[in-house]
Amino acid sequence: MPFLNQSNPIIQRYKRLIDTLGREGINALYPNEIEIYLLSLELVSIDSFGFEKSIDYFVFPVNPSEINISKPTLTNTKKSAGGVITLDSETFVPFKIRIQGNFGTRFRFLIGKNQQVDAKSIIYTTQNGVFSKEQMFKRTFANIPFSPQVKTGYGSFKILEAICDKSKAVNNDGVPFQLIFNNPIFGHNNIVKVKNFNGSLSTQRNRIHSYDLELEAVAPISRKERIWHLIRDTSLKSLGDKMSILSNDLQIGLNQTIIA
């Protein structure tokens, strides 16, 4: 099989994109062809209109030592007298993701940590010292971070732990937070639920906090619901309801007793 030489237009195009966008940009454009060795977790709050607000965005500063995905097909197969029956589904089948590793001991610069958070969501963020779901609503004591962008291995571990913990909470509108796992290593972007978060430390690996994270992907982010609520007061039904309210008002007015 011959290699493509450097003057090949496809190679030229790839080089041009690498120069302008970098590998991350190409991956964002062609997620199923060019992978990038990066993992990120994003905790998102959804308001009553269905808009997302990013709360914590954590790009793993050190890639994990191992990542596994396990995709069961969930096909139900049964033998019957006349043959074999299989039951298949066209909907999304949840699958398991397992990540193990550590962030070392050195100070690491966390990318993508500064621009994402808006003013309404900052009360929930680790940048604002919120590291557990209990703290989100009852703030008694705020730990101002040493630095929101530069973290030790332990600091990164704590952010990961905080994101996993807060992903099980609900926001002020009563909508559960969503945890999005961007995994361009395998080309998956999913809404996930944390099944298990294991932290470990041993004398063999002194000062190195290891994590073992089990996630379950529950939906691909491309299948999220559309925002329907934007123009909710102009359906024929709601306009008809306004007519009924007016009619009731009139009825009450007309039934008044005449004051002599």
Partner: protein
């Protein structure tokens, strides 16, 4: 709340029938409103003619009452009269909404009936039967029975079509829910008519765009919409700070794309968007985006990040 004495006073002094008008309106809401709503929504096949007659009579009675009240407006100095006037105007407004209910229901019209589905024109090809059209274009599995629904809706007789093709058939395909347009949905009316973004008057009317130009303007507006630009929905739009002022290594393109998809998902006339290409020219980063409408029209735009 208005006072009943004021109505009696107006009726006896000026010979109005405001009380009976209000009674008629209440009766209309009780008996006929639902029927008209159902007809416009497509739940009722037969036009409820008597209800429409009542609506029209009531509407002209209300318009007359408002005219009469206008004529004596200089004598209506008491605040009580204002309240009555306001109620009569509200009645007119709600009746007017009901008259245009087909637009608010965003239904499609086919052979005098309304439907929640979308009407699409097909032309029979040579040797194509209606069964074939129903199977291939409309995706019916039960085409041997479904074809006559199409034939009846189009009021086709046997001699109206033959194997030479060319017969125009209006068929219905399922469409997604539409909120962002107020119109009877028929082909390109799904895009709506928008005011030109450069607000101006032409021929003593506000300049507004055709359906297809509205779609183009919608694409332009949504692509350039930044977060906090829209005072009603400040979270709609993209956050350009994810891109500008950062270097290549910290470009947050996945987040940016997600915001872009979310912004477009609010627009009912857009089916999907695709990112086609990136290019860098001097210090500018441009992304080429293809926007495909629900009718299959395509728009390609270069956006400067």
């Amino acid at each position: 709340m208005f006072r009943i004495e004021t109505i009696i006073d107006l009726d006896s002094k000026y010979g109005f029938n405001l009380r009976s008008l209000m009674d008629d309106f209440i009766l209309f809401v009780k008996n006929d409103k639902e029927k008209i709503e159902s007809f416009f929504k497509g739940d009722l096949d037969v036009r409820p003619q008597s209800s429409f007659d009542i609506l029209n009579t009531l509407f002209s009675k209300t318009a007359n009452a408002i005219n009469s009240l206008n004529n004596i407006r200089n004598q209506l100095l008491n605040y009580d009269y204002w309240e009555i006037f306001e109620k009569i105007e509200q009645i007119k407004e709600s009746l007017y909404t009901m008259k245009n209910g087909d637009k608010w229901a965003r239904s499609s019209k086919i052979q005098g009936r309304y439907t929640k589905n979308q009407s699409v024109n097909f032309t029979l090809k040579e040797n194509q039967t209606i069964e074939n059209l129903v199977r291939t274009e409309l995706g019916s599995n039960n085409f041997q029975n479904d074809w006559f629904v199409v034939a009846i809706n189009n009021r086709l007789r046997e001699e109206d079509y033959d194997n030479l093709g060319g017969t125009l058939i209006v068929a219905q395909i399922q469409r997604s829910r539409i909120d962002s347009v107020v119109s009877v949905i028929d082909q390109s009316t799904i895009y709506g008519n928008d005011i030109h973004k450069k607000f101006e008057f032409v021929d003593s009317d506000i300049l507004y765009l055709s359906n297809s130009d509205t779609f183009k303007q919608t694409c332009e507006i949504l692509l350039s919409l930044n977060k906090n630009d829209n005072p009603f929905f400040p979270d709609s739009g993209t956050n350009k700070t994810l891109i500008s002022g950062t270097n290549i290594n910290s470009l947050q393109l996945p987040s940016f794309f997600r915001q872009l998809y979310q912004t477009f998902s609010q627009e009912d006339s857009v089916s999907y968007i695709q990112i086609i290409d990136f290019k860098q020219e001097q210090d500018g980063l441009f992304v080429k985006i293809k926007i495909v409408s629900v009718l299959g029209d395509e728009e390609e735009r270069d956006v400067n990040l």
